[in-house]
Each structure stands twice: as structure tokens, then as C-alpha cells.
Amino acid sequence: MIRVVLPAHLRGLAHIAGEVQVEIKGPVTQRSVVDALEASYPMLRGTIRDHVTQQRRPFLRFFACEEDLSHESPDAPLPDAVVAGKEPLLIVGAIAGG
């Protein structure tokens, strides 16, 4: 299972607490993880990536294993530790605004 940590606002929207776990069949990438997340929690569609362009929303970033993966290809494999479930994929809201 792939572990995902969401920002608090999205946890509230999806009515979940703590980490989310999703099952991925096939390559584990940013795209496949967000696809699985949106399939399980459809209310998150459009909040992490744009409905139409599928681009990551500008004020959200993807981190794992202490690395910023935000500018990696959405189809690049995620780190082995994420695939093995040892580390979560962190979806983080930019610290900005009032």
C-alpha cells in the first residue's frame, strides 16, 4: 500500500484523519497515486491538480524521502521507500497567504 499525507484542508474535505493508504497496480508515480486517491476520494478531484490540464495546482507540492519531487515528471517512478510503504508521499500546501 502507498501511504499519502494530505494537507489538513483536504483531509477535512475528504472526511479523513491521518494518513491515507491507496493501492496501486502498475508503476507507482505521482500520476498513479493521485489517480488512485481521486478514485477513492472523488471529492478531491480538482483540488490537487487542475480538472482539465491535470497540472499540479501551483500552491501544492509533492515531497518524499526529504526530496521535493514537484518538478519531476508525473510519470516518473516514486522512490523505492514510497513504493515499499516505508515512507509516505507528502502533498504539501505552500506556506503563504493570510
Binding site: 483540488t47 487542475d50 480538472h51
Partner: protein
């Protein structure tokens, strides 16, 4: 016993204020959707327990929320809480999907608009400013959005379709964003004619459809805006708000960036009725529930300041449909007050006597239970208020 429910959208959540018909003691519920911007909430005139809310965030985009129990519980239409899509099942959660129409001939963007640098710019969806439930069907609701366009849902907010005749009628390239963005912020439905809809856009002006939103025409004749190259242009005016009394749908009142205006022919021609106002800039305008010639504005000092003149928060009332105005001050701060009252932040109830409500960027929501003669704050310390709507409950 009759009562009122006041729906308040703020920068950091929604609040619901309820009272009996006396409007003296209030229950405050909220914050709902804490931390999110709530641009607007509004109830269906057909089913008062059906509420729609526009929830948005610079981080996470647009969310539409719906309540079927008067605001006690909320769901994103199509995705009840806890419900998950079946594996391989049909995609859900289209309730926050606002996609602009493209040209049927070319498949390319329908049109472009003028950007701050004077160049043409494609439409980009940012947020829903205003939700206007249908007068006859609780599942039909209109959404005015930024970048300016009109969408409609016929399934209780589950999915949205653009009424693209508005952007596509030809003047789109002349529309431009105001300081708050290029937003469609006002939707007025004609209670006597289900095919007639009015909208207003900053900064394009007012538009009318007589065929239920399929085709549109600008209705800006008589407006004069000295801040645009042609002050009497067909489009380009920064209209802030339009109000109508349901008994006289052909009479419209407008608060423009500068000037308070009225039209007696459904927008075909406007005339200025600013009269003796201390400043004719402001955002809100509304009409007394039982007196169609009694109207209200809150003059604001502009352009650079956007607070009440002289630090005195005054609602101005005209009992003559404009031109002659009286200041309403009892119970409102008359010194050191530097808040703003934004365009969707005034509403009236239909009790007798008519109640008037408005919210400020300082977080106060004021109520007058006697048509403006006396005012009292319902709440003083909310986040900045973006919108106020009121429901009169049987």
C-alpha cells in the same frame, strides 16, 4: 413564528445567524468550512432548506457545497461524505468542474479578453463569486465566475455547463479585469419572466438575456465611466451591483464604480440618481422588500481608500428611487470606522418591518429590524465579510 436565517460568507469560513421575527437575539453557527474563503451562500426560494455555497482557496481551488437541511450539514453535490467510488466505477465529483466552452467550429477558446497590459488573454477559471438559485426549481442554480462567465447546474450542483452566449456574443475582447479580477458577480432573475436574466461583470458592464441565457446583449446605455477611453462605451464599465424589486422587474438600480444609477426599462437606458450622496462610489445597492422606491447604498470613499467618508459608517436610504438620500446612522459607528462593505454583503428580509443587513470587512454584521432607522451588530468579530444573504422563514 416567523424568523430569519442570515448566511454570511467570510475570508475564513461561513457563519449562519438565526433569529425569530423580532431579530433581537441571535444564534451563531460556524465557522463552517473553517479556513476556506466563502465567497457566497444562498438559499433556494423554492426550498429554503436547500442552500448552495461557494467555497474556495488559493491552494485547492473551487468547491461547491450544498445543504438540504438549512445549513446543519453540507455535502459536495454528488459526493456524500464517506461515499467512495466503486472500483472502475464512473467518475464522480464534477461539482467543482467549471470548464469554459470552446468554439464549435475550431475547438479553440471561444474568445479572449483584455488583460492588465492591454493584450488579449485567454479565459482562465479562478472561482465562483455568486450563486443564484432558480426561482422555480431547487436543483437549478446559476454560478457567476471569475474569469467572467455564467454557468448553470440543473442537477443540484453536481455538474455545471457554461451559458457561453454571454462570452460569445462579440464584446468579450473588450472586457477587462478590475482590481478584484474579471468577475461575474451579479445575477438577477426576473420573477415575472423566466426567460429574462440580468448579469453584471467587472469590468464589462451589465448584460441581459431574454431567452433564458442563450443569447445576450449589453445594457449599458446611459452609463458614463470617465476612467475608460470611451466613457460611454458599449462595454467596459465597472458595474458593482444591480438590484431589483420583484414587483417591478423592469426597474433596476445599480451601484457602479462611480455613480448610482437606475433604469426604468430593464436596462435599455440608465440615468444617474446619485443626488446628494457624500460620494457616489460604493459596492452594495438593495431595495426595500415592500417599498419598491426605497433603496439603500453604503457610500465608500475611493479610489485609493475604500472606507467610509470621515470614518463614519452610514447607510443611505432613498425613499424616492434615488436622488434624495438620507443618512442612517443610529447604532452604526460614527467615528474611527474604516471598514468596507463589499458588493454581495447587503441583503433584506421580507418581514414586516423590513429588515436590512450588511457585513463589513472588519467582521461586523449589522441588522436593522426597522428598515434602516436603527441598527445593531449581530456579530462584531468575524473574519472579513464577503457576502450576506438572508432567508425569511415561515
Amino acid at each position: 413564528m416567523s424568523g430569519v436565517r442570515v448566511l454570511v460568507g467570510t475570508r475564513k469560513g461561513a457563519f449562519i445567524l438565526t433569529s425569530d421575527g423580532k431579530r433581537e437575539r441571535w444564534d451563531v453557527s460556524g465557522p463552517h468550512f473553517a479556513g476556506w474563503e466563502l465567497y457566497h451562500l444562498k438559499g433556494s426560494p423554492v426550498d429554503p432548506n436547500r442552500l448552495y455555497a461557494s467555497q474556495c482557496s488559493g491552494w485547492f481551488g473551487q468547491i461547491i457545497q450544498r445543504s438540504d437541511d438549512g445549513g446543519k450539514t453540507w455535502t459536495q453535490p454528488g459526493t456524500p461524505p464517506g461515499e467512495q467510488a466503486a472500483p472502475g466505477g464512473p467518475p464522480k465529483a464534477e461539482s467543482n468542474k467549471f470548464v469554459y466552452d470552446t468554439s464549435a467550429e475550431t475547438g479553440k477558446p471561444l474568445t479572449t479578453h483584455q488583460f492588465y497590459d492591454g493584450k488579449q488573454h485567454p479565459w482562465e477559471f479562478k472561482r465562483v463569486w455568486h450563486l443564484e438559485p432558480s426561482l422555480s426549481d431547487p436543483d437549478t442554480v446559476y454560478a457567476g465566475v471569475e474569469d467572467a462567465a455564467l454557468f448553470r447546474s440543473k442537477d443540484g450542483g453536481k455538474s455545471w455547463q457554461e451559458l457561453s452566449g454571454l462570452r460569445g456574443h462579440g464584446t468579450g475582447p473588450k472586457w477587462q479585469p478590475g482590481a478584484g479580477g474579471m468577475c461575474l458577480h451579479t445575477i438577477v432573475l426576473d420573477p415575472s419572466n423566466p426567460k429574462r436574466v440580468f448579469v453584471a461583470i467587472s469590468a464589462a458592464g451589465a448584460f441581459r438575456s431574454d431567452d433564458a441565457g442563450e443569447t445576450w446583449q449589453p445594457i449599458n446605455r446611459g452609463l458614463k465611466s470617465e476612467y475608460i477611453p470611451d466613457p460611454e462605451a458599449e462595454v467596459g464599465h465597472c458595474v458593482h451591483r444591480i438590484a431589483m424589486h420583484r414587483s417591478r422587474p423592469g426597474v433596476l438600480f445599480m451601484q457602479k464604480h462611480w455613480d448610482v444609477m437606475r433604469s426604468d426599462n430593464a436596462g435599455d437606458l440608465w440615468k444617474e440618481v446619485s443626488g446628494n450622496l457624500p460620494t457616489d462610489f460604493g459596492f452594495v445597492v438593495d431595495v426595500h422588500a415592500h417599498e419598491p422606491e426605497t433603496i439603500y447604498v453604503v457610500p465608500i470613499k475611493s479610489d485609493g481608500e475604500h472606507f467610509p467618508p470621515d470614518g463614519k459608517l452610514r447607510v443611505y436610504r432613498s425613499r424616492s428611487g434615488g436622488n434624495e438620500w438620507e443618512a442612517l446612522t443610529k447604532g452604526l459607528p460614527q467615528r474611527d470606522c474604516y471598514v468596507n462593505v463589499l458588493r454581495d454583503a447587503m441583503a433584506v428580509d421580507s418581514l414586516d418591518k423590513c429588515g436590512i443587513y450588511f457585513g463589513t470587512t472588519g467582521g461586523q454584521v449589522y441588522c436593522s429590524a426597522d428598515a434602516g432607522d436603527n441598527w445593531a451588530p449581530i456579530v462584531r468579530d468575524l473574519p472579513a465579510v464577503l457576502s450576506v444573504e438572508v432567508q425569511t422563514l415561515a
